[in-house]
């Protein structure tokens, strides 16, 4: 076009060179820092990672014994927690964001207005405030002793307790049947035509398959229901109030950004596409699902990927209300060892890895979503 493009290899080589240089520069900086710190009588190096952690973890995703397990394992627990909350927020915010975004385009003026109001109100206020408010909200739930279980679900300010299946062959069997039914249905539908999840028939069949073992066994499955006992609530699975509050706040916050992206993307689908669907007398559901959304998602995806990376970074704010993700645990380790630079470097490294990985994934999805329009 304007300048003659240099070969791909040239720019790739240049990029590699630059990254190598930056890498070297960073190493040099760390080396100097280390030397400086040592000269001031401060211990440096990453040896602390292997030492046993002194701290107890509040919401470790696996059994963690302080005093035995290493600092590295503690940080790993934090990393898993970060990924866990990020994943939860990403999924939930996508759903809520889609709802708000579609609401913004509704014909119902009240719905449209309410969605706009929500979006503007939420996204123009720092997320920290949402977190604090949402935590206050969760804390105002009844205490465990006052809470009444509804269908085995206990909603308290100590957490949300759900009945959980007791390990038993029936559950396993039921799960297997469901999975097989799912796979079979997907396979069949793929062969038959466009694959559309969420079809009512499919769901029903899957549920039926899952119920099969219980019908055969002839009894209701065993569940462990939560019950208050002393200081503890025993049985069931729980979601801590901190996790709940944080996920609620960040989901709400993120969803407003996603909503605007989604709305813009839908509006960017050319008018001609809508007109073509009208001319073909397509029913509304088909119009949206088969024509509009697939084109909108391609426009929206890069911007959404940005928001998702933002979620991963924002997850570090959970430390405010005491949910222990990598920054929170990093702080604790830092208290114990005093090695600020190293701990921060580990945290930064983690975020770089995750973000770049996520970007890569999104690019992959993006290329898979594109269709043959680039000649």
């Amino acid at each position: 076009m304007m300048a003659k493009a240099p070969g791909r290899w040239r720019s790739a080589a240049a990029q590699a060179l630059v990254f190598a240089l930056v890498g070297l520069a960073l190493l040099w900086v760390f080396a100097i820092t280390g030397a400086e710190l040592r000269s001031r009588g401060i211990e440096t190096g990453f040896a602390f990672l292997g030492e046993p952690a002194r701290t107890a973890l509040a919401n470790a995703p696996f059994a963690f014994t302080p005093g035995e397990d290493s600092n590295a394992l503690a940080l790993w627990a934090g990393a898993l927690n970060t990924l866990k909350i990020s994943a939860m927020v990403i999924v939930l915010a996508s759903i809520l964001g889609l709802g708000l975004g579609l609401g913004r385009l509704s014909r119902n003026r009240l719905l449209r207005g309410s969605c706009l109001f929500t979006i503007e109100l939420v996204r123009n206020v720092p997320v920290l405030i949402h977190i604090s408010l949402s935590y206050a909200l969760v804390l105002s739930l009844p205490a465990p002793r006052e809470a009444q279980p509804v269908l085995g679900v206990l909603v308290t300010n100590r957490g949300l307790y759900l009945p959980s299946p007791v390990a038993e062959a029936g559950w396993l069997l039921s799960g297997l049947c469901g999975l097989i039914a799912c796979l079979a249905l997907i396979f069949l539908r793929r062969r038959g035509g466009r694959w559309s999840p969420g079809s009512a028939v499919m769901t029903l069949l899957t549920l039926a398959a899952m119920a099969l073992p219980w019908l055969v066994l002839g009894r209701i499955p065993d569940l462990s229901t939560p019950a208050v006992a002393g200081f503890r609530i025993n049985g069931g699975v729980s979601i801590s109030p901190e996790l709940a509050a944080f996920v609620i706040a960040l989901t709400l916050y993120t969803s407003t950004f996603l909503a605007e992206i989604i709305r813009g993307a839908i509006q960017s689908v050319p008018r001609g596409q809508w007109e073509a669907t009208m001319a073909l007398a397509l029913p509304g559901a088909t119009v949206r699902r088969s024509v509009i959304y697939p084109q909108a998602i391609r426009v929206a995806l890069p911007a959404m990927a940005n928001e998702y990376i933002g979620v991963i970074k924002n997850s570090s704010l959970a430390v405010v209300i005491g949910y222990q993700e990598i920054v929170g645990i990093g702080n604790t380790v830092l208290f114990d060892t005093g090695q600020a630079v190293e701990v921060m470097a580990v945290i930064a490294g983690f975020f770089i890895l995750v973000s770049l990985g996520f970007s890569g994934l999104m690019n992959l999805v993006n290329t898979r979503l594109s269709w043959g329009d680039r000649r």
């Binding site: 001031r40 401060i42 509040a58 804390l139 300010n157 430390v319 208290f335």
Partner: protein, 316 residues
Amino acid sequence: QQASPTLDAVRARGEVACGVIGSSFGFSLPDSQGVMQGMDADSCRAVAAAVLGDANAVRWVPLVPAQRLTALQTGEIDVLYAQLTWTMSRETDSGVQMASTNYFDGTGFLVPTSLGVASATELDGANVCSIQGPGEVTARDYFTSQGMSFTPVLFAEGEELRAAFLAGRCDVYMIDQSALISFRASLGDNAANYTVLPEIISAEPLSGAVRKGDPLWFDIVRYAHIAQVNAENLGITAENVDSFGAESSPAIRRFLGMDGTLGQALGLQSSWAHDIVAQVGNYGEMWQRHFGRTGADRGANRLARDGGLQYPYPMR
């Protein structure tokens, strides 16, 4: 006269750079007018009064706990008064040195009275709310040694922590005595609904720290504190400090710089101790100013002669 790079830098700058937490009541917290208030803040002021003759010549450097030691190590601040517990590892590994303890604290428990718990030994399985930091370690040591299990709930911010405890998120609020007391005081009529358990499970000598390798500066910071304790011991207060004259006892005369070379030994003006007391007050005044209104008991922070731990090391 030995050289002190820190002292020279402070003089050249005309300010003492003082690291504080900046967010904890009673130690360092800006009041409604944005003025830093608290024991730690006043200890810094004492240093500034001694060195520069002006208690207000302090530059506040608020630090989150994680940054405290590095800020000192890297030379960003001259002195650290940030509720730092004097521990061996800190002195041996971190290139800092503890100069003086301006507050003897300890970790305690607060529980709702309705829980019917009278001793910390009954807390097996409890949810324990506390602030992120060394407190966690203390708690684990305590609960393990008692053969009890517990669930920590850790917060980065006090407001969220207090709200959580009041809402019943936890059974126990575990925090330094000092904070416990001011928290209870903030509850007004509600205070009766909460009980402080008798156990104090750790000793937390909160101390001022300086970088290693500058002995003169170390001395200055240390004796700025000792001077305040001595002033209380000698009965010298901010009001009466100028009323002492030739008829006063030799100890007082030496303290106020009328006799002897106490100031010279530190490389300071002879009026250094006078300036501290005149501008900041003696230790007792300082304590009263920040904790008096909470109705707390001075406890371990009483003078040695009253059974406390603040010892007036002789200044001669």
